[in-house]
Amino acid sequence: MDYAELFCQSYFSFLQGASSPQELVTQAAALGYQALAITDECSVAGVVRAYRAVNEQQLPLQLIVGSVFMLDKLQLVLLCPTKAAYSELGRVITNARRRSSKGDYQLTEWDLMSVSHCFMLWLPSGDQESDQYWAQWLQKYHAGRLWLAMRRQLSHNEQHFIDYCQQLAGQYQLTQVSCGAVLMHRPERLALQHCVSAIRAGKPLRELGRELLSNAERALRPLPKLAKLFPQSWLNESSAIAARCNFNLSELKYQYPAELVPAGQSASSYLRQLVAQGSKIRFADGVPPRVQALIDKELALISELKYEYFFLTIYDLVQFAQQRHILYQGRGSAANSVVCYCLQITAVDPRQIQVLFERFLSKERQEPPDIDVDFEHERREEVIQYLYQKYGRERAALVATVISYRFKSALRDVGKALGLPVSQLDFLIKNIQRRNPASSWQQQLGTLGLDSNSQTSRQLVQLVDELRGFPRHLSQHVGGFVISEGPLYELVPVENAAMADRTVIQWDKDDLETLQLLKVDVLALGMLTAIRKCFKLVQQHYQRSLSIAGINALGDDQAVYQLIQKADTVGLFQIESRAQMSMLPRLKPACYYDLVVQIAIVRPGPIQGDMVHPYLKRRNGLEPVSYPSAAVEQVLSRTLGVPIFQEQVIALAMVAAGFSGGEADQLRRAMASWQKTGELLQFKDKLINGMQSRGYQLEFAERIYQQICGFGEYGFPESHSASFAVLAYVSAWLKHYYPAAFYTALLNSLPMGFYSPSQLLQDAKRHQVVVLPVCVNGSQWDYTLQPQPQPYAIRLGLRQVKGLSAAGAALLLQHRPLAGYKELQQLRQAGLNSCDLQALASANALAAISGDRYNSRWQLLDKQQSLPLFSNQQTEDVSTVAAVAEQPAHYQSALLPAPSEMDEVLEDYAATGLSLQQHPLALLRLAGKLPRSTTVAGLSAVRHKSPVRISGLVTLRQRPGTAAGVTFISLEDETGTANVVVWLATAQAQQQAFLTAQILQVDGILEREGEVTHVIAGRLTDLSSELTAFVSKSRDFH
């Protein structure tokens, strides 16, 4: 018997379907179905995954693309017999989705009337009036492509309904076809289907009752059962319809926008021409023959793989950025080519790094080329708008990201569906420690007060596990664009994103990869903003014109590398984190490629795969560098035999275990999703057997496999690291030569990076940069460089004043007299509201005109002064004004106390998040509140392994995924920041101080390895009460 299931919803019908497209096609094939249509509601988001599963597993199953729609009481399934029908479906979905806000759709009769290729399965509602109307309407417009779909769900009164449908079919001469309206691949998913229904309804399960499915008949059912339920003719009809559906997703071809190539030229010749032009700019003294040979080789490869348009699209984008003076930098597998260097897509000089283009782009590996372009984060929107403008919304849209249930969201939603109180769920979510190696989250539920034997708790555990990985909604990819020659909906439907004026396609990047469609990544990078601002400041104040490529062309500057080796890297790109800083003095990068390694090695992947120590030992000559074979040597020689980059791992699988290009690509994807799916396991035997059969030791093979697992999703590609290293170097160079400009630019580009303004300014002061306070007469909105005092000082910007509105600041600056404001009244007249004035007073920005904070506030509070009548009088009669203004100021200052130094510091922190006065710890020390505490600077005099006491502001509590049970606490005092290591047992024994202290005193043991110093915490004491009103919050557990 042949049967095709023509109505089946996957979990991309969010919170309706309870199985993945992969599960559905696999099960349908196992049951012996001839075909399966994936028909999610107004969506084709799941079809590519089904398509991939069918292809990868070579299932004997025909996949049909379709979608189900609701319009009032009309329920209709549209199926795509041809490519034209697919484009039509794309148009209908796009129109219905674009009419509605994100996640919804709104179909109109007109949409349906315009359908002329798609097949239609109609599901009557049982409402006579509506059914009669639609039967006539559908028959009028779509006769010949219309069927009446018959279901058997074993629900109550079903026979009546079947009779009713029979009668409709007779009345309108409709052919009947059986369908399952499938929501699950197996009956066992019923519990989960109930659960997602409850989540969708926003009610607990027990309240839903009759709204839930009454049985598990909406699963894929075995053929013999279907044969009992349906007349043979209806079943045969399904198979006949399937036989008429010839459309296959592989037919979708990407058409690049033709306008990129001038008339009369081919894409290939135009690219060649552009590269030739670019090479003259990049190699002013003539292209070296070796480089020219590389260029020719790369162009040949690009042409062979037909990627010219891809490079041209990116070239067009960066040309736009250049015209607008937006800083950018390309990265990714294809970006580090000489071609990209010549097209000015990247600034990575091929002479500086031994670029092997094929290392990044390879025929064998069948990966699509990947170029991400980072733009200044504050100006990326201009680039996006350029794209929309150039290609139109019909032809350009963002790639989707599927937002899936993760542990916490799954626990919260399942818990609610099972009727657990929200406060209890919040409590569980906050307190379950997923990284606790000693007990699983299921065990922790027990210790957190949920009876682990109770039914609810068992159901919770099972459902949470099942629900994890289910998609919740489509969101927009950070910057991946799809651009096409014709309307995009012919390729894939487009819907609205949450952000206004953004549209996303219904597929994510993996789907595009499966269909070999290319995307262009337009990403945002804060450091590029900072670098551009710094270039501008240097131009303005030092009259020197800089560029990324220019700084790079100066060659490796050892003075800059000395700064990096000392870990003096606060504010630098990529190498500023605690972990990076502790590695820098050990690795001692001395050239560009060292930085490439440095950036990639301090990642969870290499750390978990235990690659760091072998690399360090080999680099310091403590361990001989050896290779098991010449082939492996070729892959690993540049990293001393230790695999550090993702590309090396893939290459190893090919070289040492004999993976084909396609297999290696599957391995790469499995690595990307290893934590979620465990897909990597299936490669284990192949990898180890392959290596052993090529003569490698089992031990070596096992180690490589472990390293691949460790890499998991955290592996870092060399192609990205190479581009990041350029920016890291440029930021270090700027910090070394133009520190004041560098900090100013950085502060004006926040939020970005690891450090708060307070930490950046303290670092600036340590580099002898003078910092001036925020002032109503001296500050601009941004931080500025001031020529006084020499060499250059940083003046705090009004942007740092908490609570000051941008509009208020604009008024202040607009009306500021040349000689500055003289009294509060002028600020009021400028139009600043009382919130803005209070904010300024709190930041002590009014000190120049109304004394200290207390007095400024006292004057601001005076209602009589702010009366309009009064203020007019003041401006008219200048002589009395002076008298009036002076007298109360004198009178009031006697009334209020003067702020103490500690008050000032605390207020500074409250109002601006930083203080230029004494550090609070310095004040506490002066007041004798820190007996026997060593300063951070003083730690260098303490011997290894000796006891020490240190106190500081807690600026960071970090529990890295790589270090089980360890928390790093950063303690800041007036001399710097110290790293404290707290072991799990220590933390648990002293939870209060550990979790809540803002000022912490630590008694512990100092440990020093090379130039890295830690304090291993013993006793923790909470000193927060010494500063009761303290407001600077630490960044906890990021």
Binding site: S125, G126, D127, Q128, L154, S155, H156, N157, E158, Q159, H160, F161, Y164, P187, E188, R189, L190, A191, L192, Q193, H194, C195, E207, L208, G209, R210, E211, L212, S214, N215, A216, S423, D426, F427, K430, N431, T447, L448, Q459, S842, R853, Y854, R857, W858, L861, D862, K863, Q864, L895, L896, P897, A898, P899, D903, E907, Q991, Q992, L995, T996, A1029
Partner: protein, 472 residues
Amino acid sequence: MALFLYLHFPSLQLDNLQLSAENSQNLAIAVVDQQHQLLQLNQSAINAGLKLQMGLASAAALCPDLQLLPYQSEQQLKVLNSAAQQLYQLSGDIALDPPAGLILRLDGMLQLYSGLAPYWQALSAKLHELAYRYQYSCGATPYAAKCLAYQQAALITNDAKRLSAALHASPLTATELTAPLQQQMARLGIHTLGQLLALPPAELARRFDSQLLSYLGRLRGDYYHALEYVQPESGFSRYLELLYDISDSAVLARPLVKLLQQLEQQLSRASCQCHQLLLTLFFRDNPKLQLCIGSAQGEYKAAAWLQLCQLQLQNLTLPEPVYGLQLDVNRFAGQQRPTEGLFAQQQASMSALQLLSLLQARLGRAAVSGLTLQNQHLPEQASQRSLPLVKGYVVKGQAGLAALALRPAFLLPKPQPLTEAVTISQGPERLCPDGWQLGAQRDYYIGRNRQGQWLWLFRTASQQWFVHGWFS
């Protein structure tokens, strides 16, 4: 000079609970408000490092086995009120200051007790007996006393200088000023009441609203602070000794009418009604007998209550003659009569609630129940006994074929095995108890037996047949 004492009970709800629950001392217990902040802590919780106003998550991290109670303002008010009632025996003028304080006016009491010390001795003994944790202080005004009590000043004195000095040194956090206002003051460098009181009122008036000035005025005693002193509790309690012993319960109605009429008078004076009476019968040898008579609707009329009482008395066999009657009503309720339409036809007849009261009085509460429809697939859960007059699940306006499933009028409490031959006419309808028990699914059919009866049948997954009901 006027003198006030303020008593602050920081953990009234929790302390009250601990009095009744044994062995609770070792457990860490906290009362939390709706924002999940800790409001009250017992000693074990304090020992674990918990602090007031702390968030629940930090609290749970510090003390994983912390027991939580939601804050119940009404209950706390009751406890506060009962504390006031008990102190009323010792001290005349007591005003409630919810949620956790009592204001006692002392100047009148000092004469009675001849001095402050004896008064405090008596009062603190009583407070000790109450066993609630408390903080206290005297003060020249209610607000002054409250402010000092909040700081646990524990001043029992009428020395004006001492009190004033203590008040001036008080931090603003101990005052009634709102948190934003306190913050505003702190941001002017003003942290104590002394600093605030030193500022010229005219300057303050130019800058702050009248609330601040009115507070300061009352604090200083410049403005009158009206207090509403508690009155002894109300209620109804009358004892009636019978002139002669009554052995027939029906005859008891006559004296009872008198009591009920008195009750009616008091209720109508207070515009109240009541839902429950407690009738106590006293015997010479046997222990007294208490009857509880309820009216679901609430009633004040003597005649109506009499009818309800008689229904209960009818069923009663007296062990021996009664010599006394006592009628108690603990709570009066406000009048809440459903407004009936002027021309409603049923004016004269009984309301559903009245009928219910009658039936319950006659048959006992347990014997009367309602039947409601539930929102469930499974037949045994689809309808259910409930409290009388409670509305169940209402089927939404689905029309035609999608409407409610066909169910028999008579459902067997427990399905019986099918023992006769039947002809199946409809089915199957497959029902699954829930997603966890696919094996327990049943296929329901409608069938007819030889006698022509319509049966509701099901077949289990193991192919066994059962009858679950009959269609009428």
